[in-house]
């Protein structure tokens, strides 16, 4: 090693390129498992799509009610609720067939304190009627604890289309920015990492959907887009360091320049993931049920994003740049 450049190279440092095969295999396994999860989900007749779509994407009505109980809530039988639902006659809308309530899914939450119903799309009037009808089984309900969401099926597909389009457009715009600031190989690798991060996050939720019945909602779409943005930001910081090292260590091969850059930013990468994960952990533990799975998606995505920005983009860079 020539003396002139040795001054800028740390005496001891982690050479990421020595571990690159391991890194590639780990990522390949992660991607493989994710694809498997998505395919299994798709083949599952009960789901029939790569991820289990929630109310936001399928359309329908979701009603959550809270019971008014003094100290302890009495037992609730799902079968009895189902029977009551079947016996309800909802106000008809002229010209439309009254929805069939026999396929309602009933979920009892918080030890019988609240109820979650998933039904075909109901009108606002029908929902009110239905909630009133339930009280004969559940007893009085807390009037301020009711939430009713009705989403038309067209809105769901519109939301999905909007999410996918905005994701693709932001990918393209980021690729243009990186090609402009760095070069095409950098941009390609940033997008590859991004696809890797999004794929693995989706894969985790495909498995969660298969094993735990977890559904993805519009917040999941938000989290995917966030993961994409974070992944690129994380990668770009390392790119910035590589660009600097290429000037400082111009006479060394690219693989060494990359190793020095990764080593120099390693502490930062770990600290940054930690400080981003800390508020998300707060959201996970204290954020309540509505944001729980949102926090899970972000935590998975950001952890994977940090990994790919250290282990994937820099190690592939010398391989692709040689050509």
């Amino acid at each position: 090693m020539p003396d002139s450049s040795a001054a800028a190279i740390p005496v001891r440092y982690m050479r990421i390129s020595r571990h690159r095969r391991l890194a590639w295999i780990a990522s390949a396994i992660g991607c493989g498992l994710s694809v498997l999860g998505l395919v299994l989900c798709w083949l599952n007749p009960a789901i029939a799509s790569p991820l289990k779509p929630g109310l936001d994407f399928t359309g329908g009505t979701q009603i959550q009610v809270e019971r008014l109980c003094q100290s302890a809530c009495g037992e609730l039988s799902v079968a009895e609720l189902q029977k009551r639902l079947n016996s309800l006659s909802l106000p008809a809308i002229p010209g439309e067939i009254t929805p069939n309530l026999s396929s309602t899914s009933v979920q009892v939450l918080d030890g019988g304190r609240s109820l979650l119903l998933r039904l075909p799309a109901l009108s606002a009037d029908q929902s009110t009627e239905l909630i009133e009808g339930l009280t004969s089984v559940t007893g009085p309900l807390k009037s301020t604890g009711t939430s009713v969401n009705t989403i038309g099926p067209t809105l769901g597909s519109r939301l999905l289309r909007g999410s996918i389009i905005s994701l693709l457009v932001s990918f393209a715009a980021i690729a243009v920015y990186i090609s402009f600031m760095y070069n095409g190989v950098f941009a390609f690798l940033a997008l590859l990492c991004l696809a890797h991060d999004v794929l693995i996050t989706c894969g985790v939720f495909a498995w969660l959907g298969l094993l735990q019945g977890i559904e993805v909602d519009s917040l999941f779409a938000v989290s995917l887009i966030t993961v994409a943005g974070y992944s690129v930001t994380d990668t770009v910081v390392i790119y910035d360091r590589i660009r600097e090292q290429r000037k400082l260590l111009a006479d060394l091969p690219l693989i060494d320049q990359v190793d020095v850059a990764v080593d120099a930013t390693l502490t930062r990468s770990i600290y940054t993931s930690l400080t981003t994960l800390l508020p998300l952990m707060g959201l996970l533990f204290f954020g309540g049920s509505s944001l729980f799975w949102f926090a899970v998606a972000l935590i998975v995505g950001i952890a994977v994003g940090s990994w790919s920005s250290i282990g994937l983009a820099p190690t592939l860079l010398p391989v692709l740049s040689r050509r």
């Binding site: 002229p94 604890g145 038309g152 909007g162 389009i165 938000v222 930001t233 930062r268 954020g287 944001l291």
Partner: protein
Amino acid sequence: MARQQGWIAFILALAIASGALLATYGLQLGLDLRGGSQLTLQVMPAGAITKVETEQLEAVKDVLERRINGLGVAESTLQTVGSDQLVLQLPGEQNPGRAAKVLGSTALLEFKAQKPGTEKEMQGLLRLKRQAEAVLAAKRPQPTSTDSGLPAPPPKPKLAPEDLARSLRSLGLTVPEGSSESDQIELLLAEVNHRIVGLYGPTLLTGKDLTNAGRQQKATGNFWDVTLGFNREGGEKFATLTQSIAGSGRLLGIVLDGRSISEASVGEEFKAAGIAGGAASITGNFTADEARDLEVQLRGGSLPLPVKIVEVRTIGPSLGAENIRTSLLAALSGLALVAVFMVVVYRLPGLVSVLALSLYALYNLAVYSLIPVTLTLPGIAGFILSVGMAVDANVLIFERVKEELRSGNTLIRSIDTGFARAFSSIFDGHITGLISCSALFFLGTGLVKGFAVTLAIGLLLSLFTALTCTRSLLRLLMSYPALRRPTYFVPAAQLPASVL
């Protein structure tokens, strides 16, 4: 030095202004945090129009706004979303059924005259209609307390199942498998009304010529009429229309949204001049609420295009309070953990960054109340994430400063170089973040938009606070010689002997 003091003064002034802004305007909370109803209405293309244009969307919005004002819901907001949707927010409203009904119908009012030679068919249809209406009225839940003191309702009219089936067949309808009696009667009624409309001639007068609408209770029973006032042109048209059928036995049809709501005969005495005076009333046996809703719709005018309600979300206020408490707790506990981490890892500059990040949070909230940004759950999530990115900027800077110190540079020089070198990576990272945000904002829908807005504000402010607040505060501290010690930045073991 003077430049530093200028910046510090500026930062303090901003902090005071932010505090004042927050105290005056407060934060706007979304419906998921305070409870209420949100309706999304989709404007449907109809007739010659295949794509909804901006002007049509605005025209629909105008009409809906007038109707909402007629309903008298406090603090409601109606916004256009995308190219063909409207979102109505009704804070505090727990039962959006009525609003949905009033907003959802087109309210196109038409006056038509019956075609000659259809008298017999009309009579048959009207008989069926009266029968079906009577059965439905009897099935309705009995009137509530406001209607007490009235004579007991007459014995329930009945429609024998075989009669119903025969009537349905005679109209060429097939009964859906397993449908209830009410469903079948509704179906019958819809078809009858459709056929009645078919017996009318062309539209001779529409709701456009209305100047006023009102309602009055009938002398007998608990029913209401809706009264109409026409402008001069409308009054003339109405007179001509009534004159043409007066005494002929043909009927005047009042059609709302293609459904016949009232059929009236015009007496012999109007043969000479028709019903003049520009006023009329619709006798449709309306309940008090129905009459009021129709009045609101007619006053607001008819919608230029039909709308369909595609989404209704209702959140109870206590659920909202629960959400806000848990999200706040989450945000604060996360921030506290980050603060501890920064001080432990970065020592003096860590403390400075905690101060800068607190200012950052304050500025963020001030911008929310200034724009104003309606805070929703995804919005709070976007804010928490932007805090993560803001901390990253500080981490990048301090890591650089540490590196410079380790390689033997003096403290002040290390700080300056650290900021300068970290700038390009902070800038690139924030720009890519902002690129995603703008894609989300312009292409995403409701929830996604709220998230994009708070994240974008956070990223812009974080650029400012990391490069200005942290730096100015740090340099201010460095003007005190007692604080100018490298060991306040890096553990002594990591420093070269020359610096110590």
